[in-house]
Symmetry: D2
Subunit: 141 residues, 4 copies
Amino acid sequence: MKNQFLFIRKANYYETDQMGIIHHSNYIRWFEEARVDFLDQIGFSYKKATEHGIDFAVLSVECQYKSMVKYGDTVAIETKIAEVSKTRIKLEYIIRDHMTQELRAIGSSSHCWYDNAKQKPVSLEKAIPELYHLFLSHHNE
Amino acid sequence: MKNQFLFIRKANYYETDQMGIIHHSNYIRWFEEARVDFLDQIGFSYKKATEHGIDFAVLSVECQYKSMVKYGDTVAIETKIAEVSKTRIKLEYIIRDHMTQELRAIGSSSHCWYDNAKQKPVSLEKAIPELYHLFLSHHNE
Amino acid sequence: MKNQFLFIRKANYYETDQMGIIHHSNYIRWFEEARVDFLDQIGFSYKKATEHGIDFAVLSVECQYKSMVKYGDTVAIETKIAEVSKTRIKLEYIIRDHMTQELRAIGSSSHCWYDNAKQKPVSLEKAIPELYHLFLSHHNE
Amino acid sequence: MKNQFLFIRKANYYETDQMGIIHHSNYIRWFEEARVDFLDQIGFSYKKATEHGIDFAVLSVECQYKSMVKYGDTVAIETKIAEVSKTRIKLEYIIRDHMTQELRAIGSSSHCWYDNAKQKPVSLEKAIPELYHLFLSHHNE
């Protein structure tokens, strides 16, 4: 199965800061966009997961900034599953300039599956088995 | 009754853009902060309203930018009720530099009361009479 | 000449608020995205303007919210020039759901041309005549 | 010397997401607010550093989310210097609920000193010796 997915997006003007670069906090939002797009690509949208009452609660995020993204640049964000279990998933992201392929940032996010009605973490295998098996099949061996 | 209320806040670095000024979209968020603080000041918090199941749905916003706010500046936002009825409220905001009193922006927002359970606009007089009468008493004649 | 331009974009999860809808402040950012895309479409990118030392200083914005945008929705933003002169431009935006064409919001933004080096407004006809004439030719009679 | 600093702030409505909690990306912005406030508290504002032509380029950030912050909550962010050298600084942040002291998040950010004119990293000891020695004196042994 395919285990790398690309999400392409332009850096917005309102995402710049007075250093003339994209403010670092926005990368965390871009990871979310890439994550959502990744779910679309594997065929089970995040929206569909939320309609099952399941959110991907964020346990942690981290990002290492390698070079600056400027307004008008287009970035390509590569997402892959680093770890997956019944209760957790860790995704890794690599941001590159879409034109030059220069490395911009590397990051990751860890999540548990959270049942909104019960207000507690749940086993994805029980909550949405279809999605759990999709993750397993796309996990990078 | 008092009909003008001040909310003081610093401009954040992450709110700047590459022109070296606060990005204009943030003023709309500052209006919300001032609105929430205004409700705290008149004694009926927005959180309390939401606990009654009532949100202030935003019907419109507008802002006229008069001079630039820079990172590190502190602004004072004056909020007052321009119009209030059973079904709507219009608030006006004046943003000034807190040190120099120089005018930065003028804006307004219009709202209806929205019942989250019923998913429709409601009369505030019926939904939260206490808040409706607070608004009336603080309305600037 | 063509006088209406469409910009398509998805509503992001991080743009939602606890009412379960896209927070109203984001529409002001979407207008900027649509504006930047409009400039790309007419053939003179905003980035190119800034490289001439010219920014589009925002004089005012306004938005009327007609119906709610939810996470996962795709919106189509139509941009057109409402007014243009040597010193100012007013753009109008109509946001519709891209699937249903339901009206979501109507708004506008007014701008002057700002010379970053001189730190003052300038005539676009003098600063970037090519762009000024592009605007004239795309102005909706 | 004092080596822990508190920054208090309320969670804003516009920072919530449709899960009904503060969106995780905002914590990265709050770290910046706490960092700026920390610099104010030790007596050398970030603004003053930027006036020396020095920015704190962000090398990395990370955040572990321990429990949810909701709209209306007030958080207390404790900042301390984890590591400091002539070329780098690492700050650690602990976010707690200001009322209950319940742990909300733990994070950190790493920075180098960046000369905006030269467009390259510099030694803080050479660029702003006063600030470098302030950091040393507040470093938690």
